[in-house]
Symmetry: C2
Subunit: 223 residues, 2 copies
DNA sequence: CCTACCGATCGGTAGG
DNA sequence: CCTACCGATCGGTAGG
C-alpha cells in the first residue's frame, strides 16, 4: 500500500517543495513550469498530472501556510492569560511557524498577490482574520490597563510587519535560537527602546517645523 | 528651450511613472514592455528610445528612491541630538519619503531582487548602509543610557521592517496625517505596548516548555 | 516614434 | 510519466 501510492504522492510533494524554492528565489511570475519541471527531473507537461495550473501550485503553498499559522495561533487565543503573556506566546508561535519553513513563509508574504479571484479575496480575508487575533490581544491589554491606550489597529499592523519580515533575515545557523528570537521580538514590542518612561526632550520638532525653521532643504522636492 | 526638450523628457517621465504603477500592481516580471507601452499610448519598441531594457527602467526607479531616502536621512545623522530625538526625526523623514510616492516605495521594497549584477550588489550595499544609519542611532542611545541595552542590529532590523511595511497600509485619505503616523510609529518603537516597565507575570513559558507540559500538540508537526 | 519582425519561451493540451 | 504540439506572448532589434 505504501509503495503503491508512494511515487505519486512523492512526486506531488517534490513539485510542491521545488515550487516553494523557485517561487522564493525568482518569484511566481518569473518561474516557468519548465523551470519547475526541471527542478523535479521531469517534463513540464507531467506537472499537470498533479496540479491543474501554475496558480494551483501557488494556492496550495499559500493556503497550507495560512492553515499552519491559524492552527498554531488558535489555541493561544482561548487561554485566559494576561495580554502581555498572550502576546509573548502568540509571537513565539508565529516565529516557530515562519522558521519551520523560511522559503514557504517568504512566498506567503510576497507572492499572494498573484492569486486570482476568488482565491485572492479568500486569502486576504484570512490575513485580516489573523490580524484581528492580534488586535484582540492588544484590546485586552488596553482594557486591563497593562497596555498603554494605543491605537490597537495601528499597533497590530506594526507588530505584524515586524513578524512578517522575519523570513528576510532569519538564518538557521544564526547566533540566536528560535526561542530567543521570539523573546527578543516580544521584548521589543512590549517595551520599546527607551530605558525610562519619560522622553523629556522638550517639544518634538517634526520635519515640517524643522523645514519652516529654515534648517534644511524641502522634503518634497522633485528630482 | 522648454518646448524642444519637453516631448522627450515628457515621454521618459511618462514611461517612468507608468512603470511604477504597473510594477506595483503586477510585479516586474509579470509586466511586459507591451503593457508598459500601452499605458503610455505608444508601441513597445518606442520605449527603447528612452531605456535600453526593461531592467533599466527598474534600476531607475529603485536607485531614484534610494537616493531620496539617503538625501532625507543624511542631514539628520549629522545633528548632535539625543538618540530618541534622532530616531523620531529619522522615522519622520522616512515616512515622508514613503508617503511621497507609495507605489514607488512598494516597488522599492518588493522588486529589487529582479536586478541583475552588478546592480543587485550595489542595491543591497545601499540598503545595508541605510540600516547602519539606524544602528548608529541605536548605539548612541544605548551608549548614553537613554535606550535599554538591546541588541542594536536586531532592533534596527525590526525597526526597518515596521517602516518598510508602511506602503502596505498607508492610505492618503486615512484618518492620520503623515506627521501623526510618524509620531505614532516612533512612540511604538520607543515605548512599546506596556504601560509599566515591569512584566511581573512570573517566568515566561515559551512554546517548547508549554508543549512539554502536555497542554498542546507539537508545533513542528508535519502535515 | 512606427512597422515589421526575430528567435525564444510561455502556460497548457492531446493522446498515448 | 512522455512526445509532440498549440496559439500567444515575450524582450528586443532593424530600419526608417
Amino acid at each position: 500500500m505504501r509503495l503503491r501510492s508512494a511515487p505519486l504522492r512523492g512526486s506531488k510533494q517534490k513539485i510542491f517543495h521545488a515550487a516553494i524554492r523557485l517561487f522564493r528565489a525568482k518569484g511566481f511570475s518569473a518561474t516557468s513550469m519548465r523551470d519547475l519541471a526541471a527542478a523535479c527531473g521531469m517534463e513540464a507537461s507531467s506537472i499537470y498530472n498533479h496540479y491543474s495550473s501554475k496558480e494551483e501550485v501557488l494556492q496550495n503553498i499559500l493556503f497550507e501556510r495560512a492553515t499552519e499559522f491559524f492552527a498554531q495561533l488558535d489555541p493561544i487565543l482561548r487561554m485566559d492569560l494576561p495580554a502581555p503573556m498572550l502576546l509573548r506566546m502568540a509571537v513565539d508561535r508565529h516565529v516557530r511557524v515562519v522558521t519551520s519553513d523560511v522559503d514557504a513563509s517568504m512566498v506567503f508574504v510576497q507572492e499572494w498577490r498573484h492569486l486570482t479571484e476568488p482565491h485572492l479575496d479568500h486569502f486576504i480575508s484570512l490575513r485580516h482574520q489573523y490580524r484581528d487575533y492580534f488586535i484582540e490581544i492588544l484590546q485586552k491589554g488596553i482594557r486591563t490597563g497593562l497596555f498603554r491606550p494605543i491605537n490597537e489597529k495601528f499597533a497590530a499592523v506594526g507588530l505584524l510587519s515586524t513578524l512578517n519580515a522575519l523570513h528576510e533575515w532569519y538564518r538557521p545557523d544564526g547566533p540566536l535560537s528560535i526561542s530567543e528570537i521570539a523573546r527578543q521580538l516580544s521584548d521589543q514590542l512590549l517595551f520599546g527602546f527607551m530605558s525610562t518612561r519619560e522622553d523629556d526632550l522638550g517639544p518634538v520638532m517634526n520635519t515640517e517645523e524643522w523645514n519652516n525653521s529654515g534648517n534644511l532643504e524641502s522634503v518634497n522636492r522633485n528630482t
